[in-house]
Point group: C2
Chain length 397, copies 2
């Protein structure tokens, strides 16, 4: 075998196991694998878990903090349009090489932190044109041996200003090598028609869809129910993600409940940044049976100055803000960021500690998921398609 | 000199400096210190900052997670009395050696994370008697060469049940080697009389006071204004800390404002766990000129399963929850956890990068406070009273 991981704790499995890996897949899980692997890892009883999937990033804009004048903390309280405009100023400085270099750095931060697949949105608008798309495509190619990158172009400024040009540009991006497409209903006056337009294009391309949904923190548009209904009407169940969903926190429990039930019915996944209203956007949907994950979103750019591309750190935020207390809940939280997230974005090859699945794994310096979250455990080894690609925070490739 | 730290970035200082340390104090800060120190550190342009002060811990109860049956996440929603009762079950297992061993482990976690002084509350009640006090006193003695521990005994179950016995036990604890005393108004039916009793004892002992204040998350007692008024009446300005202050979030802005103004007038400091209502409990008081710091509180015990004794991690929580965005705000946040906290608990010898002050320092792998918080920088070296006591997460003593 290419790689054998010995003495592994696997969530939900009583005894330590050896994990055999060949040609990028898990081929055997048993008490003892006799033959030595070409490469060997002794997990020494530590937790071996499926890699994290960071389902919502913005590689094109990441790590541009130094190009921005951080006037005051007030900026986050401004309407979305202000943030878009501030961001546009910085996007004028982008080049393809620049985007590729920053995107690659984020990919490196991801993999050493145990994230083996990420989904990146890419702004497509008149300011940046296709520069972001070209840069992230180049990064995807440069990193393809050690991390999978899904690319989701979207018309961040909507279609209202110049419907034909905006759609033409977006289609150019889709043709260049997108894996799916995105949308953002509140970018247009009529959010529902934005959703309709995106669905029409996505069906033409046979693409999954990822909507920036109800991002406003101080107004209350509520696109989520329409997205879920449309998903059912178009037969796109299991292929739609609703990202953010701040709107859930602005509505009464019975309205939230209805929206969340619709998401479950439509198999629409939700993903959230874990810094506000965790109860409404994470806990309630999880309890209603919706597939929920958490994500980095923007990293050190005009939208937010924070971010370490570390899903384990995000899990701790969810846990503390959500006041999750039991070991079982915390173990489940870790799975939300790996197998749950994999389901949400449709990972090919299967994700999780099961024979036949991709060997995308992380070995934590902890005996359990809850211990890993609480102690913010070191990621001892990260394995991507059967290859050891990172060790204790160092990239090996 | 005993120790010279070279090429140090100091907050607010334009050029790199050398820092000379002798007999536990900073004796020189200049562009270039010629003589070699007995020990030398090359900071290589990284930030050298005053050590963190964790102003509110519970060493006696810490690290007892494995003695508790974590039924559900619901426990946090229960009234305070339930938490006290659950905690009492575990406290019956305490021995002096056990408390000392766990307290020492927390002290080690603190110092490697750059916390050079901590304040620990200690439960004094009929269940645990003086066992917690004896254990923490033993830990204080065991760790005295590399961390300062302030001990604050308090009658966690109040005085109502057996006023004379409770006060007698508390006084025994104070006589054993307390540095200050604590109180918790909501433990008694008449919170104000609890405050009065604590003040009477504290004045007799000439002790500072640290009140667990307005901890309820679902009711709205509001002891804070009375504590501030009493502080002024008794002339105890600058000697009183109000810990938690969840109550601030349950009142209207004008009532909050009044309470916060009273705190400033009475020089009552506030300290908060940064996981809820950061706006009301941290940002508003800071903007009103109150001395606010953040703290670990319980670590992996019946009150909460979390905690890494890492003030830099807590700073990131405050920053993200408070949506602090500017570099200046984040730099100030770091200072709130060091020089601000030092002022709050009255560190002798002076704390901060000034000649004459204690040489209690941490060297971050970052060029600034905001970079340290955002990147969760490694603590390269920790210096306690002029001695290098930890390096990159490893205790050296």
């Amino acid at each position: 075998m290419d790689l054998v991981i010995r003495n592994a704790t696997i969530a939900g499995v009583a005894r330590l196991k050896d994990i055999g890996i060949e040609s990028g897949s898990i081929v055997k899980i048993s008490d003892r694998i006799e033959p030595r692997g070409h490469e060997e890892i002794n997990a020494e009883g530590n937790l071996v878990a499926p890699g994290f999937i960071d389902v919502h990033m913005h590689l094109d804009k990441a790590l541009t903090l130094d190009r921005y004048d951080w006037a005051t903390r007030e900026i986050m309280a401004t309407p979305r349009l202000t943030s878009v405009n501030e961001s546009n100023k910085v996007k004028r400085t982008f080049t393809v090489e620049d985007v590729c270099e920053r995107a690659t750095r984020i990919a490196e931060m991801c993999i050493v932190n145990g994230t083996t697949t990420l989904r990146s949105h890419v702004d497509i608008d008149p300011v940046v044109g296709l520069i972001g798309m070209r840069g992230v495509l180049a990064a995807k190619e440069a990193c393809k041996d050690w991390i999978d990158i899904q690319i989701s172009p979207y018309a961040i400024s909507g279609f209202d200003d110049a419907p034909e040009d905006a759609e033409k540009l977006l289609r150019q991006a889709l043709d260049m090598g997108a894996d799916l497409m995105g949308g953002v209903p509140e970018a247009d006056k009529d959010g529902n028609s934005h959703v309709d337009r995106v669905f029409a294009i996505a069906k033409e391309y046979n693409f999954d869809i990822d909507f920036h949904t109800d991002q406003a923190q101080f107004e209350t548009p509520f696109a989520l129910p329409y997205i879920a209904e449309k998903t059912i009407v178009e037969g796109w169940q299991g292929r739609v993600m609703a990202s953010h969903c701040f709107g859930l926190a602005h509505h009464k429990p019975e309205i939230r409940q209805k929206a969340v039930d619709l998401c479950r019915e439509a198999d629409v996944s939700i993903c959230c940044t874990p810094f506000t209203t965790v109860n409404e956007r994470v806990i309630e949907p999880v309890e209603a049976g919706v597939n929920v994950s958490y994500m980095s979103d923007n990293i050190r750019d005009t939208w937010q100055p924070y971010g370490n591309a570390d899903m384990l750190q995000l899990a701790l935020f969810v846990a503390r803000l959500g006041r999750w207390r039991s070991n079982e809940d915390l173990d489940h939280l870790l799975e939300m960021g790996s197998t749950g997230a994999a389901k949400a974005i449709g990972i090919k090859g299967g994700h999780g500690l099961v024979v036949g699945n991709n060997a995308d794994l992380v070995v934590f310096e902890a005996k359990s998921g809850h211990e890993a979250i609480i102690t913010q455990a070191q990621k001892l080894w990260v394995v991507k398609r059967g290859r050891v690609v990172a060790q204790q925070g160092e990239l090996l490739v």
